[in-house]
């Protein structure tokens, strides 16, 4: 496996997934760097028999985001300076128009209206390439539940993005 080739191919979907989850470009970049670094360091442990690389890297990204959320309050408590980093529950942070165009900003804004679980499912659906069954396995939900939530979310998103 050539790591740089895989990186070129999968960076954008992974970044988009993380960005949709955390709603902050700078934080998404940091979490992406952590994700890819972990994948780079553990690349010898990747076993193609257990699943493809795409699933593997998305699992790492998902774990990094969840870890970030778990440690959010600890870091906030220990921080010596003002703590500005959010959990992505609010309006998206100012997007750099150079790399986040109008359509993308519109999508981010619409996704930010969803709750954390919905956002996770939608982002996985859009970018991980996993089907509902695989998403259900990753998230611990039932397949029908995933389908229902996604259907509801996509309807909400379409309405939000029309505005």
């Amino acid at each position: 496996m050539d790591f740089s080739t895989v990186y070129q191919e999968l960076f954008k979907p992974v970044f988009a997934y993380v960005l949709l989850r955390v709603n902050d470009c700078a934080l998404a970049e940091d979490l992406c760097a952590l994700t890819w670094r972990k994948a780079y360091e553990k690349r010898n442990l990747f076993n193609p028999e257990k699943g493809n690389f795409r699933q593997w890297i998305f699992t790492i990204a998902r774990n990094e985001i969840n870890m970030h959320r778990r440690l959010y309050y600890v870091r906030r408590f220990l921080s010596l300076t003002g703590f500005e980093e959010g959990l992505g529950e609010t309006e998206p942070a100012a997007l750099d128009p150079e790399f986040c165009g109008g359509e993308e900003a519109n999508l981010l804004r619409a996704v930010s209206r969803l709750n954390g679980r919905e956002r996770d499912l939608v982002a996985l659906k859009f970018y991980s390439g996993l089907n509902n069954r695989e998403i259900a396995r990753q998230t611990g939900l039932s397949e029908s539940n995933v389908g229902t939530i996604l259907h509801r979310c996509l309807r909400k998103l379409r309405e939000e993005m029309k505005v």
Partner: protein
């Protein structure tokens, strides 16, 4: 293709890194030599140091009495005294604070306040009663 699939495809094509600047920056961070390793070891070392210092500090705080300034003339020959609610309590040392002034009159300027509890080594404090209480102690020592 259904309307839903069409919408998913549309959203999946969203490009949040059009000029690949983020991609380049992240790649530089990923491949920076030893960055992760050093950061992890530094963090582990600092965390271990902080934990050790905190444990040591807490233990010594528990063990060592606090030094309080004594006004001039307040240092008198004095033995162990047990106090409860600011009053001398000659009978029982448990749940009290032990107060001791070191040195003779005019030689010492510190009072040591020990945390309460029954301490076998200091049991003698129940046997002796100190001199009349100084007003200074009333304000500084609380049980």
């Amino acid at each position: 293709m259904t309307e839903q699939e069409d919408f998913i495809r549309l959203c999946s094509n969203a490009d949040f890194d059009k000029n690949r600047a983020v991609q380049a920056r992240v790649w530089a961070r990923v491949t920076a030599r030893g960055a992760g390793v050093y950061r992890r070891w530094t963090f582990a070392a600092v965390a271990a140091g902080v934990l050790f210092a905190a444990g040591f500090g807490a233990a010594s705080l528990m063990r060592r009495p606090a030094d309080l300034p004594v006004p001039s003339g307040a240092a008198v020959e004095y033995s162990w005294t047990c106090r409860a609610g600011g009053e001398v309590h000659p009978a029982d040392c448990s749940c009290l604070r032990h107060v001791s002034v070191y040195g003779g009159a005019g030689t010492s300027r510190s009072v040591r306040v020990f945390s309460g509890g029954t301490d076998g080594a200091r049991r003698e404090c129940t046997l002796r009663q100190g001199p009349p209480e100084l007003s200074f102690y009333r304000s500084c020592v609380t049980c």
